[in-house]
Amino acid sequence: MNFTQSFRLAIKSLTTSKMRALLTMLGIIIGVGAVIVILSLGNGLTGMVQQQVDKLGINMIQAQFFGGTADRLPDPEDMYDMVEANADILTGVSPYLGVNAVVRHGSDKFDRTNLYGVSEIMYNAATGYTIDGEQLAKGRFVSYMDVERRANICIIGAYLEQEAFDGDALGKQLSINGRPLTVVGVLKRNAELEMLPGSQDDQIYIPYTTALEIMGSRWVNLYIFTSTSGETADAGKRIIEAYLNDFFRTDDGMWNYFYITTMAEQANQINAMMGVAMGVLVAIAAISLLVGGIGIMNIMLVSVTERTREIGVRKSLGAKRKDIRSQFVIEAGTTSAIGGLLGIGFGCLLAKLLEALLGGMLVASMGASGITFNATPTMGAIMLSFGVSVGIGILFGYLPANKAAKLNPIDALRYD
């Protein structure tokens, strides 16, 4: 019944002593601001991971072979057979060989260039992305026939095209460990990144069969599988695991003979880690909210003392305990709610500032293109912080309000 008046009184006393109001609310402002910043940044990071996963394909399964005590590893042919035998779940497999070799073009030597041996499965013609998240700028990707024939072809990154071929590489040649390879495709430049040696734009894909020959090796130790969808990735993982346990004649070869992980698992791991980190940070920010709450309690106790006479007058006019109590609780709640709103504004601004400052860097460190860092707090985070700040005001305002409610009207009226 006297909510509006209590609310207006609270606003009035806040505006008449602005400095005091600001200092009272400072703890809440900082606490809520910090929570908003943390949640926004966390939200941005989670969003980045999600975008990465979406782009690479949630249906990706990575299998790495260590071999353990075995004297041989599965052949690529074995892998193909296994995929074919489980075509209802697994849709493809590509070897993924990291190659150590010297790349030359004429007299130029590119010793920081990343070199990968892959199969045609690496590139999804339907989405236009490779499993690594790359797109073709021109030409074509590795084909089935290239793999079969150990063709001397390669697909190069934008940096190499620029540096070695002055922006026109198609049909031209470079050499890897002395073996001449023809450029049949060029990858799109990763716009957010500077083009530097060893960067994401400084790379070469070749057929894995060609790569094995160049390295003089027989064994492929890393494969990337794809399943029919994100939902079947786990089933795919179990199929591969069962196959490998069988192959290595072991009951549980995970970690010793091989390691299999799905994209979803990796994303979950990252998210879980970020969740823990965010939880710790929010807990630290919560200390500031606690301090803010104590600040409000302190100022409300002062206010109750200052307004003892007013309380006496109100009681003499018929205010009951609950009337006085709710007046002061509303005042405390209003104070901290305004502090909360200011904190939310301050936090959003700071989050946007950090987004501008750190966004590029974070995207670069994720090593992926076409991903954005968007540090905008969710509506849920805003509502939560607002709710918490009002709650703190009410919680910490209750004790002073109760003190006011219990004042004896005679003593309160005589108070100077």
Partner: protein, 247 residues
């Protein structure tokens, strides 16, 4: 007819350290609807305690107090608050207006606590301000008014809830003699309109404005009768006359 106020054998006993103080020492008092009574006494006579008990701000140690036929001497805090709200209008020496509220909001307060909705509240508060001739000052803050005007606002506030009893505690104490007289004239007018007024004062010259005087000394009633009776203003032995205010 039922008495509006009926105190029966009321004691109020305080323990001050080793000493026991009988602020009210067996008081019997009845006041009827429509009376104008002054409760007089020097400081320490028990008149403030009497006012607290009549005003339902305090409860007697023993004895009973019936206000409007209801026993209020055993009520708790909140029940007393309700009685104060419904039946009593206070006028204080220091006006006791709330400085941050406008004049109108101050007058609305008793109605607010009575749960009257905002439209009617406003109307009744304005009508009450009208009675004290300050309708046009509703938007002002109390500090923008003179002392006499502030006291009139507090009278408007006391009247707003349409109380059965108006309780004025040294209402002229903070005013100069001229405005003091105005306030007293106003109380008299309220009485003539049929209101019951109880005035608490230490000042005989003010007390005689009432129709009936109740004189307290050491917690006991030593005179209760017509204010025109010369005995009403006789100073008891051994008591110093306090400084007089007004005339």
């Amino acid at each position: 007819m039922e008495h509006l106020i009926e105190l029966k054998n009321v004691y109020k006993i305080y323990q001050m350290g080793e000493e026991t103080v009988h602020a009210l020492d067996g008081v019997d008092l009845t006041i009827d609807q429509g009376e104008f009574v002054a409760i007089v006494g020097s400081s320490g006579s028990g008149k403030s305690t009497a006012m607290n008990i009549i005003g339902c701000l305090d409860v007697p140690t023993s004895g009973t107090y019936h206000l409007g036929g209801v026993d209020v001497s055993t009520m708790d805090d909140d029940q007393q608050a309700e009685i104060r709200n419904k039946m009593l209008g206070f006028i204080f020496q220091q006006y006791n207006l709330i400085p941050k509220l406008s004049v109108l909001e101050n007058v609305e307060l008793p109605l607010l606590y009575a749960g009257v909705d905002s439209g009617e509240r406003r109307e009744r508060a304005l009508a009450s301000l009208e009675r004290v001739g300050l309708r046009d000052k509703g938007k002002n803050l109390p500090s923008q008014l003179s002392g006499g005007q502030q006291q009139r606002v507090s009278i408007a506030r006391a009247l707003a809830g349409d109380p059965s009893l108006i309780l004025a505690d040294e209402p002229t104490g903070a005013l100069d003699s001229r405005t003091g007289r105005e306030v007293l004239k106003f109380l008299k007018q309220l009485h003539q309109e049929g209101n019951t007024v109880v005035l608490i004062t230490h000042d005989n010259s003010i007390a005689v404005k009432a129709e009936r005087i109740v004189r307290l000394q050491d917690g006991k009633i030593i005179y209760d009768g017509d204010s025109r009776d010369p005995r009403a203003v006789v100073q008891p032995h051994g008591e110093d006359e306090e400084e007089e205010v007004g005339a």
